[in-house]
Symmetry: C2
Subunit: 227 residues, 2 copies
């Protein structure tokens, strides 16, 4: 479902060259549950942004459903992202002047759904995250973990085939984190492909495969036996 | 050193009232190392902002060095914050168009230090955080964990008496997190008072006292035996 071939992302700042992702080739099948780990700055978010079609490679290929993203024009890419991919950003990326409810509804606007349906689905997702009493709060009026849960709700509201979650429990206490893990487990049981970047072993332990990054490369890629 | 008496913070949004902090009385002595834990939305950041003199209580008192913050005017409060308190924000709060080096130097500008000294101290702090090769990167050109380390460096550059750290390892892998814990341990050994909000037991285990919040109140406050 998701494949990369010699994927590279390089940044040039003045005289220095940074190889954020430095040649990654891997393949993730439909229905997998993968944990991506690695040291700070090892290229995990950069990699996620490329397979999520939010960023273009410097060289190499990303293929979604066997079609290279470079073969799709920007409208087709936007449509693919909106319909098939749900992305939880490491820094949430919520709209500051917008309520939790309207933040979650944004992907449904792109999907062309009518207003009543958008409100209903968004409210349902936020309630499932324990935020039913925070629907009209803007991000500044929410705690860090509440903002993170709004970001998760937004990623799930279009019922994506592929969930890409970059540190989705970084701001959550262990009980709230368990709730999120149960939701992810349920989605994976329904066939949703999950790729989660995490530094917490409690989260990585739910995945069936573990990929480790260092200095822009994959240094380990193995199946893990669940508890 | 830090004391609160019946501390309350209430938000009113339309017809609803939110008791973010709902009557907290506690006292932290010079040199303590305290971990604050609790569920998402339980009032931890709101509490930290008040004892860090960044936010004013709705009622109750905050006393720093036995002086109520309400007895100080805003200049005196700003001076106290700048000279005695280092704050690591849950969401970093870095200046977006400013390099890592200049972000870290900001508190030294307020402290009236000359430019060469500011650059030297900021570079030293960032290098100690493993970011010596990222000094001129702006936040958008840094990974999540690198931004978090810039926020930590900035909190430490004035050599504060009190370090208030809100989820300082939320975006860090375990090895980088260990490095930060070693730095905090060293500071506490030198007499610096450390109050850290965390949801990670590996971080809480370094503290000597553990305070747990729920629904704006303290439900547990005990000394913990370190390994
Ligand atoms: N400006 C505001 N207006 C209204 N409610 C607010 C505001 N800021 C915070 N709150 C609410 O106050 C409560 C406490 O927030 P706080 O940020 O202190 O929680 P927290 O314990 O730090 O949570 P987390 O672990 O998720 O970071 C939350 O329920 C939040 O929704
Ligand atoms: N726009 C940019 N310009 C220059 N360098 C960048 C840019 N974005 C990221 N980098 C660098 O690329 C490297 C990889 O960044 P990335 O965000 O992918 O790391 P990460 O593995 O997600 O780290 P973390 O665990 O801290 O979130 C980092 O060293 C970072 O400094
Ligand atoms: Mg990252
Ligand atoms: Mg908080």
């Amino acid at each position: 479902l998701v494949e990369t071939r010699n994927l590279v992302k390089t940044y040039v700042l003045g005289s220095e060259t940074i190889n954020a992702v430095n040649g990654v080739s891997l393949s993730i099948e439909r229905g997998e549950y993968v944990a991506i780990m690695g040291t700070s700055g090892s290229g995990k978010s950069t990699f996620m942004n490329m397979i999520g079609c939010l960023d273009t490679p410097s060289s190499g290929e990303v293929l979604i459903d066997a079609i290279p993203t470079s073969d799709r024009d920007s409208d087709a890419l936007a449509k693919l992202r909106n319909e098939k991919i749900g992305f939880v950003f490491q820094q949430f990326n919520l709209l500051a002047r917008t309520s939790a409810l309207d933040n979650v509804a944004v992907p449904l606007i792109y999907a062309g759904q009518p207003s009543a349906k958008r409100q209903e689905k968004s409210a349902a997702k936020l309630t499932a995250m324990g935020l039913g009493d925070r629907l009209d709060h803007t991000p500044a009026k929410l705690s860090g973990g509440q903002q993170q849960r709004v970001a998760i709700a937004r990623a799930l509201v279009t019922e994506p085939l592929i969930l890409l979650a970059d540190e989705p429990t970084g701001a959550l206490d262990s009980r709230t984190s368990d709730d999120i893990m149960a939701i992810f487990q349920e989605l994976n049981a329904q066939g949703i492909t999950i790729i989660v970047v995490t530094h917490e072993s409690e989260v990585a332990d739910h995945a069936k495969r573990r990929i480790e990054f260092r200095d822009g490369k994959v240094i380990e890629d193995r199946m893990v036996t669940n508890r």
